[in-house]
């Protein structure tokens, strides 16, 4: 027992070095655990980019591609689906709600989404949150546009501003719809999802800017239709790019998916967002593993710091060891003393690290959710985390053997000679 007490008192005597060592261990442990939690939060957040949507429907093609262009606004569709099929699906008895998406235009690198008011009513993200307005209202007229929060912030747009959309989704769009400018009528609240990085117009608006186009080419001067001439009710929507839908009962999702995939009038495809999101996440999980490796090495560095601190203290403690030997302490006890010191440092460091992690989570939780869309739940320690901690402790004991052996050999060499 006196060995542990000596170890503790000796550490306390060198409090500055001890506290610094403990802090560095606790920082690395909290970073390790924190990163682990943020990682799983990011995973959940990724899976929460879209929520409560049971199926995404588009023209037949790649499933991940469909997910990417509907949810993440990446890439583009190879084909459209007819508005007729959309309407048919909307009336399906199992379908509770639908959201049409008409894509293909952009504004200064941000995607333009043609949709209807169902989008503001039914779209959900992050465990069932709805879209809300920061300023203004939904677009009700052909040439009205609502901006995602990032679009408004980065381009400095306000309600009432007039903007021009571009044809195509490349960053350097070559065709502007300059003859038909849009007026900003609303800005959405931040969602920390790709929703923020898009502009939203009505399906009619999307149709209207292409109304006078002939075979994918802009109209000549004399073929142009002036915006004033276009009436909301006159516009007939023929095609959309994709649609989201929610079912009345989740039990019917699989059957509905099969029905859509076998739809006779048109080659359609339906995907379950959660399933494809998981596939996508698996594809990028090497980044996740990279993060894990980095945080592991942070812990290794923290423990190496402890090793250096203890090793450095050995020389100035040779006298102390000689005194202990004269009092009947064996060299093996000196070895144990050094191990105890490392154990103290690692245990206290790890405990402090856990506390620190919870404090940071408590403070950082709302901020991370707001700025990165990552929700990190505050829960107890999991079995896996406890196993990580046990591994850290084991590894530190392994490292502690190095200074302990050194102290042991010093002790045998010095005997009762007091070296100063």
């Amino acid at each position: 027992m006196y060995v542990a007490s000596l170890a503790f008192k000796s550490l306390w005597n060198r409090r500055l070095a001890t506290i610094l060592t403990v802090l560095s261990i606790s920082f690395s442990v909290s970073l390790f655990l924190g990163i682990e939690r943020i990682r799983s939060g990011a995973h959940d957040g990724f899976a929460n980019t879209i929520s409560k949507t049971d199926l995404i429907v588009g023209a037949k093609g790649g499933t991940i591609q469909l997910l990417l262009y509907t949810v993440f606004r990446i890439g583009s569709a190879t084909d459209n689906m007819s508005y007729e099929s959309y309407q048919k699906l909307s009336e399906h008895p199992e379908v509770a709600w639908t959201i049409p998406y008409s894509l293909g235009d952009s504004h200064r690198g941000f995607r333009v989404v043609g949709t209807d008011n169902n989008f503001y009513k039914h779209y959900q993200y992050l465990r069932g949150r709805h879209i809300t307005f920061l300023h203004g209202r939904e677009p009700n007229n052909i040439f009205e546009v609502v901006l995602g929060e990032s679009v408004a912030k980065e381009l400095g747009y306000h309600v009432g501003d007039s903007i021009v959309l571009s044809h195509g989704v490349s960053d350097v769009a070559f065709q502007d719809h300059s003859d038909k400018p849009f007026t900003v009528v609303g800005v959405l609240k931040r969602t920390a999802t790709p929703i923020d990085r898009s502009l939203y117009i009505t399906l009619q608006g999307m149709e209207a800017i292409h109304m006078d186009w002939v075979d994918g080419a802009p109209p000549l001067e004399d073929g142009r239709i002036r915006p004033e001439e276009i009436k909301m009710d006159d516009i007939e929507i023929e095609q959309i790019t994709a649609m989201l839908l929610g079912t009345k009962s989740r039990i019917s999702v699989l059957q509905l998916q099969r029905d859509i995939n076998d739809y006779e009038n048109e080659p359609l495809m339906a995907i379950i967002p959660g399933v494809v999101l998981a596939e996508l996440w698996d594809g990028i999980s090497y980044a996740e593993n990279g993060l894990r490796v980095v945080s592991f090495f942070v812990v290794v560095v923290g423990l190496l710091g402890m090793l250096v601190a203890i090793y450095n203290s050995l020389n100035e403690r040779r006298r102390e060891m000689a005194i202990l030997r004269s009092l009947g302490v064996g060299a093996s006890v000196v070895f144990r003393l050094m191990l105890y010191e490392s154990m103290f440092l690692t245990c206290i460091g790890a405990l402090l690290g856990i506390v620190l992690m919870y404090i940071v989570l408590l403070i950082g939780q709302p901020l991370m959710e707001e700025f990165f869309g990552i929700f990190v739940p505050i829960r107890g320690m999991t079995l896996v985390e406890l196993m990580y901690l046990a591994a850290i402790l084991g590894f530190s004991m392994l490292l502690a053997v190095i200074p302990a052996i050194r102290a042991y050999r010093n002790t045998l060499y010095d005997g009762l000679t007091i070296r100063t």
């Binding site: 006298r319 004269s326 000679t417």
Partner: protein, 231 residues
């Protein structure tokens, strides 16, 4: 049990294959003796103390303390035997810097069960010992705040606690001025008289030898060194 507490018989020692450092045909110390062992540097003083305390092992010959031969003991049991039977006072820096004076004095009794038993009630024993050595008011202090003279008295108290059979004092007074040396020795003698402890006082300072009933010179004792090599 004979009255010899320490006996060396034909003891030879050298580090691996190097020159012989210790060659002592016979050396006996009787219980209760106060021995002044004159040892100028270079005479194998440190080596001899290492052998007596059981830190070093003799190449040949026999060393026994309280009739127990070191040759038959493992290094581990020599360690605990040392804790039980020897009190050691160094020249200086005797104390563990991160313990209080009281904790320093109590330390041998935490390491050796025998000494704890002999000390009886540890706190009151320390109080009484400190009283006699004039360090009562230092007990709660941090050792780094003490003067050298105070430190050596605390070191004496620590060596004496739990009545070890032999006190080995390795130049304990060389850091003190003359007046303090004499007082220190007198206190040490008084304490040893209380329980009949034996003192082996090693020093190169001949001025103190008048206070000792028995004086042995390491130069004569150790055949491995000649007159010339000791200074």
């Amino acid at each position: 049990m004979s009255d010899v507490v320490l006996a060396l018989n034909e003891v030879k020692f050298s580090y691996q294959n190097s020159t012989l450092l210790i060659d002592i045909p016979e050396f006996k110390v009787k219980a209760g003796e106060r021995l002044f062992l004159y040892g100028p540097s270079g005479c194998g003083k440190t080596t001899l103390l290492g052998l007596i305390s059981g830190i070093l092992e003799a190449n040949s010959g026999e060393i026994s303390v309280l009739d127990r031969s070191y040759a038959k003991m493992s290094s581990r049991s020599r360690d605990s035997f040392r804790g039980d039977t020897l009190g050691y006072i160094f020249q200086m820096f005797n104390l563990i810097p991160y313990l209080t004076v009281r904790e320093n004095i109590a330390l041998p009794c935490q390491i050796s069960r025998q000494r704890r038993q002999r000390a009886g009630n540890l706190n009151s024993t320390i109080d009484a010992l400190a009283q006699r050595l004039g360090i009562s008011d230092l007990l709660g202090r941090i050792v780094t705040e003490l003067s050298v003279g105070q430190q050596q008295r605390v070191a004496a108290a620590r060596a004496l606690i739990g009545d070890p059979a032999i006190i080995i004092a390795d130049e304990p007074t060389s850091a003190l001025d003359w007046d303090h040396r004499e007082t220190f020795l007198k206190l040490l003698f008084e304490e040893l008289d209380r329980y009949g402890g034996t003192l082996i006082f090693v020093s190169h300072d001949q001025s103190l030898k008048a206070m000792f009933p028995k004086v042995i010179s390491l130069v004569e004792l150790n055949n491995a060194v000649g007159e010339a090599s000791c200074t």
